[in-house]
C-alpha cells in the first residue's frame, strides 16, 4: 500500500508551490476568510474590485458615483438656444489619484516608452522569463519566443550600433591606450590603506607585457564627469536623489568583483591601472545626501575610490575589458607593432591589410585672385547660334572685347541655352513656346508674315528665280516649293523644329505634321517625300497651302532663349471676361406679338415656350417629379455668348429654341391626348370605346378622303354671305385641312378616338337639356342629323367628317335618317356665339362644329385663329342663312320650334341662347369646352 501510494505520489502532478512544512508546535493558521481578504491602497483605503476598471475604485459610495444618490446629474441645458458645454467624462474622471501617479495604471508623468527605454529595466522580466523557460514544461520554449518575438532595441542603441558601437563599449572616439603608470606622486598625500601589492602590481606588469601600442580601443564605458556648476545650496557633492546612483554603485561593485574574482587572463586583459591607485587613494563614503529613509542603505557607506578619478589631465585611457578590442591576441612579438594599426577589426578572409597607407588626399589651396579682380559678373546678351545676324553677335562680342577667332571656343560660348541643354542631355524647360508670335493675334501674325515674306523675297530674289513656271496650282509644285523654301530657310532650319516652338499648338495634328515636316526638311528631303506628311484627305491645293504655311512657320521661327519662356506659363483656364451668360431662349420680338394681339390672334403668335428647370426642392415641395432629374440647371438654361456679339442685339431664335418648341409641342399633343382622360366624368367604359373604334376609323378614313377631294382651296369666300349656303363649310374645311397639313402632321388616330369618345359622352349626358334652340344651329343640326346614325355608337363625328358629309348631302336629301332627339341633343353643343371678332377682317364661313371636343386639338387651334376674322354682323347673317337652310331641311320635324325662333329677332338671338344656356346649369367643364368650341 505504502509503496503504491508512493508511486502514486510520484505520478501525481502537482501544481503550485508547496506550503512550507509546518514547524512543530506551530498552530495552523486559520485561513483568512474570503470576506476579510482585503486589498488596501497606498493610503490604507480599501480597494474594491467592483469597478469597471482594473483595480476598481472606491469613491466613497460603493457602487455609486459621487453622491449617496448616485450619479449627479449635471444641470440640464437645452441645446436649443445654447449648446451645452459638452463635458465628456473619461475614465480618468473615475480614477483615484494613485492610479494617475507614476506607478498607477495610467501614469500621467512623462515616461519613456519601450522604444526608448533602456534594457536595464527589463532585467527583472528577463530573469523571470529565463526562470520560466527552465521551469516550463518544455524547457527552453522562451528561447523560441525570442526567435519569434520582435527584438526590442531602443532607437538610441540601434543608432549607436550602426555607428559601430558594440555592447559594453563606451561612447566616443577610439582612443589609444596609453598605459601610464601613475606612480604615486611623492608630494601627494595618500590617504587610506594601500592595495595589496600582489594583486595590483602583478596585473600591471602583465598588462605591460602584451599591450600592443598601436591598437586603439573604444573608450571606456563610464559616466562622464559632470561638469555642471553647482547651483544649489546643498552641501558639496550632495545630490538629492541621483537616478544614476544605482548605475554608479553597480559599476563600482563590478569593478570590485572583477578585481577580486577575475582570473588571470581577465585581469591581464583589464589593464586597469586605476584600481591599484584607487585603492590607495580611496575615499570612502559619501559625505552627504543619503536620507535616513532611503532604501539603499548600503550605499551610505559605500566607498568611492579615488581610482575612479583621474588625477592627471590626460587622454582617456582605454577601456577596461576586451570590448572594442578584437584584434588577435598574440602580438607579443613587437615586430608588427611598428605598423600603424588603423584597422582593428577582423580582416576578412582573402584580404590582407595594406602594407602602405594610401597617399593622403592632397588639398590644393584656392588660386590667388588677381589683383584687379572684381567679383561682379557682367552678362553678355545671348544670341542664338543659328541666328542670321551673326554679324551683330560678332559686333557685340567685339564691343565686349572678347572676340574670339577660335571656332571651337566660339562655338562653345556661342551656344544658347537650348543647345547647351541638348549637349548636356538635360530635359527641356517646361515653358510655353517662346515665340512672341503666340501672343499676337492671328491677323497680326499674318501681316507680319507677309511683311517678312516680302522682305525675304526681295533679299533672296536672286537666288530663287528658277521657279518652275509650270506650276499647276497657285503654289509651285511641292518640290519646287520645298526647294525654294529650303534655300530660303537655309541654316535656320537647323533648329526650326528642335525646340518647343509650336506654331500650330491649337491643332495638335497639324502641329505634328509640322514637326515631321521640319524634321524631314532638315534632313534634306524634298518633294514627294515631304508630301507624305500632309494629310492625305486634303486636296492638293490645301496641301500646297499648308506646306507653304509650314515653310513660313519654320522660317519665322526664332529660337529665343528659353529662359524667357520659362518665366511664363500658359493660362490654364480661359478668360471669360468677354462672355456673358444669357438665357438660351429669348422671348421673341414684341412687335410681332403686338400686331398679333391687335388682330386678336392669340395663340402661337403670342406664345413663347421655354424649357424651364424647376429647382429640385421646389419639385419636392410641390410633390411633383423633377422633369429634368439629370440637369443641374435651375431656371432657364443659359448659354455663354460673346459679350459684344451681334447676336445679343438680334433676337435670332437659336436652333435650340425650335427644339424646345418641338418637344413642347409634343408635350402639348400628349396633353391634348390625355385630356379626355382627365374628364373622367365623361368617359365611357372601355367596352364602348372598343365598339366605336372601327367606326371612328371609318370616319377618319372618310375624312381623309374628303380632304383629298376638296384639296383645291377656295380661299375667297366673300360670296358666302349672299351666295350658296352649302358649299362654303366644306370648302373651308378643306382649306383648313390643307393648312393644317402644311403645318403639321395629322394627329394620330388615338386623338380622334379620344375626341369621339368623349364627345359622345358629352352628348349623352346633356341630351335631355337641350330641346329649345336647335334651330339656331341649322347646319349643325343638319350635320348632326346625318351623323346621328353613327352617333348611336360613335355619337358624333369629327367636324371634318360632318362637313364633308354635309357637302355631299347638300342637295337636301338626308342620306341618313335622323331621329329628332339625337339631333336636339347634338345641337346643344352647337356654337351659338362667335368668338372674338374684329371688324375689317375678311369674312370666312363659320364652321359650325358639334360641340363635342373635349379639348383643342391642333387642328382646332388653327381654325380658331382663322375664325377670329369674323365680324359679328356677318356672323348673324350667316346664322340667319343657316337657319333658313335648316328650316328648309327639317321643316317637318321642327316646325314648332322654328316658329318660335322666327319670332325672335336676330339681335336677341344670342342673348336668348345664352340665357338658355345659363339656365341649364351646365358643369364648368362643359361650359368651358363649349366655349372653346364656339370658335370653331
Amino acid at each position: 500500500m505504502a509503496e503504491s501510494s508512493d508511486s502514486e505520489e510520484e505520478d501525481l502532478v502537482s501544481y503550485g508551490s508547496a506550503l512550507q512544512p509546518l514547524q512543530e508546535g506551530e498552530r495552523i493558521k486559520k485561513p483568512v476568510p474570503l470576506q476579510e481578504q482585503t486589498v488596501k491602497d497606498a493610503k490604507g483605503r480599501y480597494q474594491r474590485f467592483h469597478g469597471a476598471f482594473t483595480g476598481g475604485f472606491s469613491a466613497g459610495y460603493f457602487n455609486t458615483v459621487g453622491t449617496k444618490e448616485g450619479w449627479t446629474p449635471s444641470a440640464f441645458v437645452s441645446s436649443r438656444q445654447k449648446r451645452a458645454d459638452r463635458t465628456v467624462l473619461g475614465p480618468e474622471d473615475f480614477m483615484d489619484e494613485e492610479d494617475l501617479s507614476e506607478f498607477g495604471i495610467a501614469p500621467k508623468d512623462i515616461t519613456t516608452t519601450d522604444d526608448f527605454a533602456s534594457k536595464a529595466k527589463d532585467r527583472i522580466k528577463e530573469k523571470a522569463r529565463q526562470i520560466a523557460g527552465v521551469v516550463a514544461p518544455i524547457p527552453g520554449t522562451t528561447a523560441f519566443d525570442d526567435l519569434i518575438g520582435p527584438s526590442k532595441i531602443t532607437v538610441g542603441v540601434e543608432l549607436l550600433r550602426k555607428m559601430g558601437w558594440k555592447e559594453g563599449q563606451g561612447i566616443g572616439p577610439r582612443v589609444k591606450r596609453k598605459p601610464r603608470r601613475q606612480k604615486p606622486d611623492p608630494t601627494v598625500k595618500i590617504y587610506g590603506c594601500a592595495l595589496p601589492p600582489g594583486l595590483s602590481e602583478g596585473s600591471e606588469d602583465e598588462e605591460d607585457e602584451y599591450q600592443p601600442e598601436n591598437v586603439t580601443f573604444a573608450p571606456k564605458d563610464v559616466m562622464p564627469v559632470d561638469l555642471t556648476p553647482k547651483e544649489n545650496v546643498h552641501g558639496l557633492g550632495y545630490k538629492g536623489l541621483d537616478p544614476s546612483q544605482a548605475l554608479f554603485g553597480a559599476s563600482g561593485r563590478e569593478h570590485l568583483n572583477l578585481f577580486s574574482g577575475g582570473s588571470e587572463e581577465t585581469s591581464n586583459l583589464l589593464g586597469d591601472l586605476r584600481h591599484s591607485k584607487g585603492r590607495k587613494l580611496g575615499i570612502t563614503g559619501q559625505a552627504f545626501g543619503v536620507g535616513a529613509l532611503e532604501e539603499e542603505d548600503d550605499d551610505i557607506y559605500a566607498t568611492d575610490t579615488l581610482s575612479k578619478y583621474d588625477t592627471v589631465l590626460k587622454d582617456e585611457e582605454p577601456g577596461d575589458g576586451l570590448y572594442g578590442w578584437t584584434a588577435p591576441k598574440q602580438y607579443k612579438s613587437k615586430n608588427r607593432s611598428e605598423r600603424d594599426f588603423k584597422y582593428i577589426g577582423k580582416v576578412l578572409a582573402g584580404f590582407s591589410l595594406a602594407s602602405k597607407p594610401s597617399a593622403p588626399v592632397k588639398i590644393y589651396p584656392p588660386p590667388s585672385l588677381p589683383r584687379n579682380y572684381r567679383p561682379v559678373h557682367h552678362f553678355r546678351p545671348v544670341l542664338p547660334a543659328g541666328n542670321e545676324s551673326c554679324h551683330l553677335q560678332k559686333a557685340l562680342e567685339e564691343s565686349a572685347g572678347k572676340l574670339q577667332s577660335d571656332p571651337a571656343h566660339h562655338s562653345r560660348h556661342a551656344l544658347n541655352a537650348a543647345q547647351r541643354r541638348e549637349q548636356l542631355g538635360e530635359t527641356e524647360l517646361k515653358g510655353p513656346s517662346p515665340s512672341v508670335l503666340e501672343y499676337l493675334s492671328e491677323k497680326d501674325r499674318e501681316r507680319l508674315k507677309q511683311v517678312k515674306e516680302a522682305s525675304e523675297q526681295q533679299v533672296k530674289a536672286k537666288p530663287v528665280p528658277q521657279q518652275s513656271p509650270s506650276s499647276r496650282f497657285q503654289l509651285a509644285s511641292p518640290e519646287d516649293a520645298a526647294h525654294k523654301w529650303q534655300t530660303l530657310l537655309g541654316g535656320q532650319l537647323a533648329n526650326a523644329g528642335s525646340s518647343d516652338f509650336k506654331p500650330f499648338a491649337k491643332n495638335p495634328e497639324k502641329q505634328k505634321r509640322y514637326e515631321n515636316f521640319v524634321k524631314s526638311l532638315k534632313q534634306g528631303e524634298k518633294g514627294e517625300r515631304l508630301e507624305r506628311f500632309f494629310d492625305q484627305n486634303m486636296s492638293e491645293w490645301e496641301r500646297g497651302r499648308e506646306q507653304e504655311e509650314f515653310f513660313r512657320a519654320a522660317m519665322f521661327y526664332r529660337s529665343s532663349n528659353s529662359t524667357l519662356s520659362s518665366r511664363f506659363t500658359r493660362a490654364k483656364y480661359e478668360d471669360d471676361v468677354d462672355k456673358v451668360e444669357v438665357p438660351r431662349d429669348q422671348e421673341n420680338d414684341i412687335d410681332d406679338k403686338e400686331t398679333a394681339v391687335k388682330m386678336k390672334m392669340f395663340g402661337k403668335l403670342t406664345r413663347d415656350n421655354f424649357e424651364w428647370h424647376p429647382d429640385k426642392l421646389l419639385c419636392k415641395r410641390f410633390n411633383v417629379r423633377d422633369p429634368y432629374p439629370d440637369s443641374s440647371v435651375v431656371g432657364l438654361p443659359k448659354v455663354k455668348r460673346d459679350k459684344y456679339s451681334v447676336f445679343n442685339f438680334l433676337t435670332v431664335p437659336e436652333p435650340t429654341t425650335s427644339v424646345a418648341q418641338a418637344t413642347n409641342e409634343k408635350i402639348q399633343e400628349s396633353n391634348s391626348l390625355n385630356k379626355p382622360k382627365k374628364s373622367s366624368r365623361w368617359d365611357v367604359s372601355d367596352k364602348e370605346k372598343e365598339k366605336k373604334d372601327s367606326i371612328s376609323e371609318f370616319i377618319s378614313l372618310a375624312r381623309s378622303k374628303a380632304d383629298a377631294q376638296q384639296q383645291p382651296p377656295v380661299p375667297a369666300k366673300e360670296e358666302c354671305g349672299t351666295g350658296t349656303t352649302e358649299t362654303p363649310p366644306s370648302v373651308q374645311v378643306a382649306d383648313e385641312d390643307k393648312d393644317q397639313e402644311e403645318e403639321s402632321k395629322r394627329p394620330p388616330m388615338d386623338l380622334f378616338k379620344a375626341i369621339f369618345v368623349s364627345s359622345s359622352d358629352e352628348k349623352s349626358s346633356s341630351s335631355e337639356e337641350e330641346e329649345s334652340d336647335e334651330e339656331q344651329q341649322p347646319t349643325t343640326s343638319e350635320r348632326q342629323s346625318e351623323t346621328t346614325k353613327l352617333a348611336d355608337v360613335a355619337d358624333s363625328s369629327s367636324s371634318n367628317l360632318q362637313e364633308s358629309v354635309t357637302a355631299t348631302t347638300d342637295s337636301g336629301i338626308p342620306s341618313l335618317p335622323t331621329s329628332k332627339q339625337e339631333l336636339d341633343a347634338a345641337e346643344e353643343f352647337g356654337p351659338k356665339l362667335p368668338p372674338a371678332f374684329s371688324p375689317g377682317t375678311t369674312w370666312q364661313q363659320q364652321t359650325e362644329v358639334p360641340a363635342a371636343f373635349p379639348g383643342p386639338s391642333r387642328k382646332e387651334k388653327h381654325r380658331k385663329i382663322r375664325e377670329r376674322h369674323k365680324t359679328k354682323k356677318e356672323r348673324k347673317r350667316k346664322k340667319e342663312k343657316k337657319k333658313k337652310h335648316k328650316k328648309q331641311k327639317n321643316k317637318g320635324k321642327h316646325k314648332n320650334k322654328k316658329s318660335e325662333k322666327d319670332s325672335s329677332s336676330d339681335t336677341t338671338d344670342s342673348s336668348d341662347s345664352l340665357s338658355d344656356m345659363d339656365t341649364t346649369g351646365l358643369s364648368p367643364k362643359e361650359l368651358l369646352r363649349r366655349l372653346k368650341q364656339l370658335q370653331y
Partner: protein
Amino acid sequence: MAFPRPRPARPELPRQRVQSLQCGQGAVRAARFNADGNYCLTCGSDKTLKLWNPHKGTALRTYQGHGYEVLDAAGSFDNSQICSGGADKAVALWDVSTGQVVRKYRGHAGVRRGPRGQLGGLGVGSGEGDLGPCVRIDVLISLLVPQKVNCVQFNEEATVIVSGSIDSTVRCWDCRSRRPDPIQVLDEAKDGISSVKLSAHEILTGSVDGRVRRYDLRTGQLCSDYIGSPITSVCFSKDGQCVLAASLDSTLRLLDKDTGELLGEYTGHRSTTYRLDCVLNELDTHVGCASEDGHVYFWDLLEVSEGPQGGFGDTADPPDPPGVPAGFSGAQAARGPGRGAVPGLPPRPALPAGGHAGPGDAVARGHLPARGGPRHLRGTGGSPVTRGINPHGDPAVLYWELE
C-alpha cells in the same frame, strides 16, 4: 353608358350684401377668403392684417408685424398659417393662433431691373403701352417706391410661399426649413409681378410687362403669353384648363392654358390704373372683375362680351376710381378687397378725383339676372366710394352672398 350627371345647380351671382365689415385699417388693400370660405383676411394700409368671421362680422384677430401696408395675404389649406406680403418688401408667415410671425422672408429687397423695369413699363396711364409720357413718371417711381411684394400664395400643402414683387421676380420660399433665401427665383419677367396664382403643379404669374407666364413644374416648361397691356390679375379656371387675365386695357381675356389661344374677351369695366382682381366663379360659369368705378362686374363666361351695352343698367360711374374686386369662394361670395394700384404705381390714385383709392366692395344676395351682357354689382347700393373715411381708401369690406 355612363349615367348623365344630375343637372348642376344654376350658377348664381351675388346680389345681396350680407355684411359690411368696418375694418378700421385704413384703406383695405386686399380681402381674401380662406380655403373653405369661413374666414376672411383683410390687408390694411395701417400695416395690419385682420382675420374675420365674415358671416358674423366679427374680427377675430389682428396681426401686426409688417413694417408697411399689407398688400396681399393668403391662408393655408389647414387654416393654421397665413402668409402675407407688404410694401415693406417682406413676406411674412404667420401662425394663426398665436398671431406671431413665424418667418419673415426679405429677399425682395432688390432693385427693379431690366430695361422696362427701369422705365417702369407702366404705360398704364396712356393705355396702350405707349411709354412716352410714362418714362418720367417711372423713373421717379423706381426711385421712390420700395420693392413691394404684390402678391403671395401658398402652394397646396402650404410648404411653399410664392410671392411676386415689384422687383420683377417671383420667389418661392420654403416654409419647412429656416433657409432665409428662396428655393428658386423666377426672374423671367421684365417688370413687376402683379399677380401670382398656383395650381397643384403650376405657377401662374402676371406681370406688368404684359405677359402671363405659366411655369409648369411637371413638364418643366415655361409658357409665356403676350397680352401687351400690363397684367393686373391672373387666375386659373376651376377646371384648370383656362387662364383668365385682367389687364390695364380694361379687358379680361380668357386664354386656353395649353395653346394660349383667346377663348373670350370681356370688357365693359374700367381698369386702367389700379391692380384689381379678377375671378372665375366656382362653376366657371361667370367671370368677375372689379372695376375702377367701384363696381364689381360679372360676365357670363360663354357670352362673348361685346362691350358694356345691353343689360348694363347703371352707366353712371361713380366719380372715383378704384373699385375693387372679387373672388368667389366656395359657393359663397364675392369678396372685395380694396386694392392698391398697379405695381409700380403709387397705391394712391394718381387721379385727382379726391376720393379714395382703396375700395371696398362686395356683394349682395340675389340671383343673377336672367341673361344679358356683363352685369355689375354695386357695392352698397349707391356709392361705396363716398363712404370712405380716409382719403386713401375705403375702409370697409363688403361681403356679399349668394342666395
